[in-house]
């Protein structure tokens, strides 16, 4: 690649976007006529640009005015977002401290790392919901028979998600479904599902922020999952893992923890 190529390539996106002056356009086109490699670079940029145009379609945005209005009318709400202006070194230092503390906290709970089995998944939730926890594996038919007032979560996404197993948990007297899925790519999905009126299952922790504050999210995401995602009404969250977890092992250990907890 010549120096001329380098100079031209910095202008290729602007050329595609018709943001260059006529003189520069002429210079770019002259170069493209003779250069053996820059036209390929231009093709790549065009491929990316066209690809993005293909996915411009959007789901409709939710109507949120009533929520916003109510919150703005409520004095003393802590809804404001503050940009992170702290120095980077402070964030790094905080991360180091957090890693050390997390390591100490989780040390006794370490699972079988060779196989990637994380046996204490259940414990995190159990710790947060210290009493009144019962769990059992159930079939989809049983879910309907139980009349828990909400359908089993079915991902609307592409691909054939295979439902591995469903657990029914009773937390503070309310039912919560835990559904394990595996998608076509072998990624594991674990969905905890509950209806709006049963969100009290998590005690008073009714918002994502509060759940995070109580470390449920952190513990789950740090140990198993790359994402914890909440539904809009905050009544359901999905935990997603790109690791190949041993679901059977996790479930077995979950149950073992429950049994020990009951003892």
């Amino acid at each position: 690649m010549t120096n001329d190529c380098r100079a031209i390539r910095t202008n290729l996106s602007a050329y595609l976007d018709q943001e260059l002056t006529p003189e520069r356009v002429a210079r770019v086109e002259e170069h493209l006529r003779h250069c053996p490699t820059c036209p390929q670079e231009l093709d790549d940029l065009e491929i990316a640009r066209r690809a993005l145009h293909e996915i411009r379609a959007m789901p409709e945005g939710p109507e949120q005015w009533q929520h916003i209005y109510a919150k703005l009318q409520t004095p003393g709400r802590t809804w404001s977002w503050k940009p992170s202006l702290r120095p980077r070194w402070l964030a790094v230092a905080a991360s180091v401290v957090l890693v050390i503390l997390t390591s100490i906290f989780f040390w006794p709970l370490t699972g079988d790392r060779k196989t990637g089995v994380e046996p204490y998944l259940g414990l995190y939730l159990l710790a947060a919901n210290a009493s009144d926890v019962l769990s059992s594996e159930i079939s989809a038919d049983q879910v309907e028979a139980l009349n828990v007032n909400f359908p089993v979560y079915t991902p609307s996404a592409v691909g054939s998600w295979k439902r591995e197993r469903i657990y029914l948990h009773k937390l503070h007297g309310q039912p919560v479904l835990q559904v394990f899925y595996t998608n076509a790519a072998g990624q594991n999905y674990c969905v905890f599902q509950q209806s709006a009126q049963h969100f009290v299952d998590f005690g008073d922790r009714t918002t994502k922020e509060e759940l995070v504050q109580n470390n449920i999210c952190t513990k789950l995401s740090a140990r198993h999952f790359d994402l914890i995602s909440w539904s809009l009404d905050k009544t359901r969250f999905a935990a997603v893992s790109t690791q190949h977890l041993d679901l059977k092992g996790i479930a077995a250990d979950w149950m073992a923890q429950v049994v020990r907890g009951q003892d």
Partner: protein
Amino acid sequence: MEHILGEVIERCRRGDVDAFEVIYRQYRDIVFRICYRMADSEDEAADWSQEVFMHLFRKIGSFNGKAKFSTWLYRLVTNYCLDRIKTRKTEMPLEAARYHPAGEGPAETLFKRERQHIIHQAFEHLDPGLRSVLVLKDMEGLSYTEISQILGIPEGSVGSRLNEARKRLAKKLRAVSHEI
């Protein structure tokens, strides 16, 4: 519109929540679109867009009219999204749940759907800073001048960031298309 908006903004400055509904109705789609493209899921985008409006109401007094209100708003939303992403670096995109085909009609082929899914995946794995410039240019259709004002960078840097973002996206698309 700008004249009417000026009055509305003035009322909002004085804490008039009802007046703020005009802003919400006018810019709801823009805010959600940006959040949707930058967040990892539709649910997260909805959360963010709600918080953006809360933040906007609080900050609207600092709008000084030097730039267009929409440009100022784009900047506020983009910064908000980038900041939120920064605070949750360890999380990964929920690719599958983000998939929204452009249409569900019978004419749409499976190939097209699969292709769109691949593009979504490649796009969402880009660095957030690069993603934001692609959103503003290739999805919002803004000019380099507007993008430079929104991101606070020179116009020349807009072009070079777009270059980088598009090259990386093309590379990812090529890699994925070889896999399938």
